[in-house]
Amino acid sequence: MLRKLGLIVLFVSTVAYAGQGRLYVVVHLYQTMVVGGHNPPAGIYYTTNGGEKWDHLGWSNIIAYSLTIDPGSYGKIMYLAAGNGVLKSTDAGESWRIMTDWHETEVSKVVIDPKNHDILYIATPYGVFKSTDAGWTWKKKNNGISPKQTGTTSSTFVGPILIDPSHPDKIMIGTENGIYLSTDAAASWKLYALEGKGVRDIARCESNPDLMVAGTENAGIFTSQDGGKKWKQVGNGVDTLAVYTVAFDPNDSKVIYAGGYNTGFMKSDDGGKTWKTFSSGISDLSLHGIAVDPGHPADIYIATIPGGVFKSTDGGKTWKYLFLNGAQVWSVMFH
């Protein structure tokens, strides 16, 4: 079984899916948003029936990026990464509290330590912050990535965070300046790979953790077969694309999905060596999230910006529009 490591919760989510079957999407904003005006609801939407009916959850007047659900909480403990900071709910989204203050802003991702759920890491444009008390207090963890040390602010522009499930002190982050690795639970960072590349997303194959794929800004897709030490850029005309989302197929480690700016839905059947694009039925070709139904891997959902959510029931060959046209849907996930 494979999964995307960027969201540790997905492993448990997959287990929980059989009972709950929720697909969540997070709307960053609407393309027609006017700062200060009445805008369509952003934030979290979910469906329990494959996209036929959707409900909104929580704050609607917010800039949001992604949702993380504590895997041991039966869906009750949620973290929303947002412009206002980190919002937490302990009642399945009925009520929320901003857990951060003004020091933490534009949070794009919350990641939970798989062994200690009180330990959280967040990705922001200003670096990594860590909480050891389930979000009540935060400390900046930029030793090794601060602009004074690297000579660029790009190194603190953090996107994906991956925790090694076996060794939670080993953490990999994708930044605008490449991939950095910490082996001491974010106490320090060292440049690990892809120096100078804007790394937008990283996925790890669950059945073979050495297999990884990364999407980058204007440099396309990279694959690694040694756990991220060495990366190989995929050719075949995709090496200049801006790729925002990557994922392994849960049943076949050779099948990889990707998408980005004006790319359409990209699929590789040979471990990333060659890629095909499928766009039939997709009205907006810019993708920012991919979720494969763990119970029915032929069912794939994509988040597009600003075309909304689309679904494929044939492994990505054809697509049908579901919801949220006009929205920048930043992420999509099962729980």
Binding site: H28, L29, Q31, T32, M33, V34, V35, G36, G37, H38, W59, S60, N61, I62, I63, G83, N84, L87, S95, W96, R97, I98, D101, W102, T105, E106, S108, P125, Y126, P147, K148, G151, T152, T153, S154, T156, F157, E176, G198, R200, E217, A242, Y244, Y261, N262, S286, H288, I305, P306, Q328
Partner: protein, 621 residues
């Protein structure tokens, strides 16, 4: 010796007596203008619930608080307030304006209305925004709400105590940052008001005397910063953020009516877009100190003001999080020439330089720019993906995608100003992801005289101000026929009668690279008649070296300026290093990291010390 002493004493007496008269003038004229503003908005605008009514008359906090304070149309006004609270926008504007409206309008509201406001903020979630002015508004709103009511859980999940602590912490941080390294959203004719209003509310309503003092001192700081660049209602010089419709017509700036309230020396233009946001300051007890009023209005002698501001936080692609902005302003009673050094200092709305004429005519300015856009520019400052954010920004700021826009930063522009001369250079070797390969210059049709001279200079006059503009490369000169479209579809007047926005300018456009111009400003007091000014300018010498991208220019004053793109600047052979203090002129001085602003006028010195939040004023003997 005796004669000299007597003369000296006479001078002192003259200065003192004129200063006393000015003090009287400041207070009395302020009161008159304040009353005029409050009466106008309370009496002249009827609230309409018709969704098709103009913006200003539909329910909005400003008109509501104006009427509540004046006890005009109270039932209708309360109904309008109920309407707004029933459908809360839920952002930083909403929370601080709601609190300001409630606190200023309390006496006209039913006794239990406070409970409604509190309940509303317990339920309405509030988006914080993503700029410094947003955050000051957001935290001011929570500060005022949380000191007013002790609530265990507001809509953000935090208690009053937690919100007060966080709000105070951010406000302290912003004050410290601004007074140490300069303001980030510096000298914006639009966003100036979004700092002033929250500060006025904090000054007026903060129960903590220290917070009140901090707000008072920051109001003085902001008004000193405004006043030094103030010329008859215009916010002159370089701006961090400037909408195109304001860049071409400074009288339309929101800051103009704040200038009218605090400084006068301009017409009352209540129908300019968002001018009504002056209501909170007009209602408040804050008064601008006489010394700042004098600095803002005394244009008897030309002066140079140098300033250091701060680049908006650079979240990627930069070497450091922020870097200095160097501003240079040359002020006279007839015109002001001001500039920053160029480059990308702010996204989307930067205004690098202009000459502003002391005139009540509309479109009283001349400037040039490289209309520029690129994913790199947006990626520097915004956390979204650079390529798709293009489309979003183009939607929210329609002009950003316009090749004709009149507001723009550009990494390919650098300037060098010395007194009333500016050299503006462009290296337009753009990479494929960048647009556009041109420079545009704005010449208003409201000029009294406009001469395209055979010498290569383009001359103009508006009232008592002159300019000569020398294009360094071949150009086209065309009349813009539909300026509203060219401004990016952002109508400035929103149904309020005012200036027509068609046929406002002649546009100079040049596609060559390298490129640039020399602008020489002047006035009758400096150079005599317009003909004499033109004759003197024609005698100046310009040498443009395309290979070096450099200009040597002997100015109208006889100074030898040399500027080589991007950063070699010399006057009379001596290198000019841009390393200014936060403020540096005969009126204002503040060293970097000092958190002290010294304000000087005549023999009076006022010191704002943000280290210990004290204000002292003394007279130099």
């Amino acid at each position: 010796m005796r004669i000299s002493l007597i003369l000296f004493e006479l001078i002192i007496v003259c200065i003192s007596s004129s200063y006393v008269r000015a003090q009287d003038s400041n207070e009395s004229s302020f009161s008159a203008r304040r009353q005029q503003i409050l009466t106008y908005y309370a009496d002249s605008v009827n609230i309409s619930f018709n969704p098709d009514a103009p913006d200003y008359s539909r329910p909005n906090f400003d008109i509501i608080v104006a009427k509540l304070a004046a006890r005009k149309d109270v039932p209708t006004t309360i109904a309008a307030l109920d309407t707004m609270m029933a459908n809360p926008v839920g952002n930083m504007f909403y929370i601080y304006e709601l609190m300001g409206t409630y606190l200023f309008g309390k006496k006209s509201l039913p006794k239990n209305f406070g409970d409604k406001v509190r309940d509303n903020l317990e339920q309405s979630t509030i988006y914080r925004g993503d700029t410094e002015n947003h955050w000051l508004q957001y935290y001011t709103g929570w500060y005022l709400a949380s000191q007013e009511w002790d609530v265990p859980r507001w809509s953000n999940g935090k208690s009053s105590e937690e919100n007060l602590r966080e709000a105070s912490s951010y406000i302290d941080h912003w004050i410290s940052l601004t007074t140490s390294l300069g303001q980030g959203e510096y000298n914006s004719p639009t966003y100036f008001i979004t700092y002033m209003d929250p500060l006025v509310l904090l000054y007026q309503f903060a129960k903590d005397p220290l917070m009140k003092k901090k707000a008072e001192m920051m109001l003085e700081y902001m008004l000193a910063d405004f006043g030094i660049d103030y010329l008859d209602g215009n916010y002159c010089g370089a701006h961090s953020r400037d909408y195109p419709y304001i860049a071409v017509n400074p009288h339309q700036a929101q800051s103009a009516i704040f200038g009218y309230l605090y400084f006068g020396h301009t017409e009352f233009r209540p129908k300019v877009r968002e001018a009504i946001s002056v209501i909170f300051p007009a209602l408040g007890n804050f008064r601008v100190p006489d010394i700042i009023y004098e600095i803002a209005t005394d244009r008897s002698q030309p002066y140079v003001e140098k300033e250091r501001k701060r680049v908006r936080f650079i979240i990627r692609y930069g070497r450091q999080r922020t870097s200095p902005v160097y501003k240079y302003t040359y002020m006279t009673k007839d015109y002001c020439l001001g500039s920053s050094q160029g480059g990308i200092l702010q996204p989307i709305q930067e205004h690098v330089w202009d000459v502003t004429f002391a005139s009540e005519k509309p479109y009283n300015t001349v400037f040039a720019l490289n209309p520029y856009r690129s994913p790199l520019e947006l990626g520097l400052f915004f956390p979204e993906e650079p390529l798709p954010i293009y489309g979003f920004v183009a939607h929210s700021h329609g002009y950003y995608g316009s090749v004709n826009k009149w507001s723009s930063s550009s990494p390919h522009e650098r300037t060098f100003q010395h007194l009333n001369t500016i050299i503006d250079l462009y290296d337009l070797n753009l990479n494929p992801t960048e647009d556009w390969h041109q420079i545009d210059a704005f010449f208003p049709l409201t000029l009294d005289q406009f001469v395209v001279d055979t010498s290569g200079w383009i001359f103009g006059r508006m009232d008592r101000a002159y300019f000569g503009y020398y294009p360094l490369r071949k150009y086209l000169l065309e009349k813009d026929t539909d300026s509203l479209e060219l401004l990016g579809g952002e109508p400035s007047l929103r149904g309020w009668s005012g200036w027509e926005e068609k046929n406002i300018d002649v546009r100079l456009r040049s596609f060559k690279s390298p490129n640039g111009c020399v602008l020489q400003a002047g006035s009758p007091a400096q150079y005599g008649s317009f003909d004499e000014f033109m004759a003197k300018v024609r005698e100046t010498k310009i040498k443009f070296d395309r290979m070096k991208i450099s200009v040597s220019y002997n100015t109208i004053n006889g100074d030898r300026m040399y500027f080589q793109y991007p950063d070699i600047r010399r006057v009379d052979g001596k290198g000019v290093v841009l390393n200014y203090p936060l403020f540096d002129s005969k009126f204002l001085y503040s060293a970097v990291d000092s958190k002290i602003l010294r304000i000087t006028y005549g023999n009076t010195v006022r010191t704002l010390d943000f280290n210990n939040f004290t204000v002292t004023q003394h007279t130099i003997k």
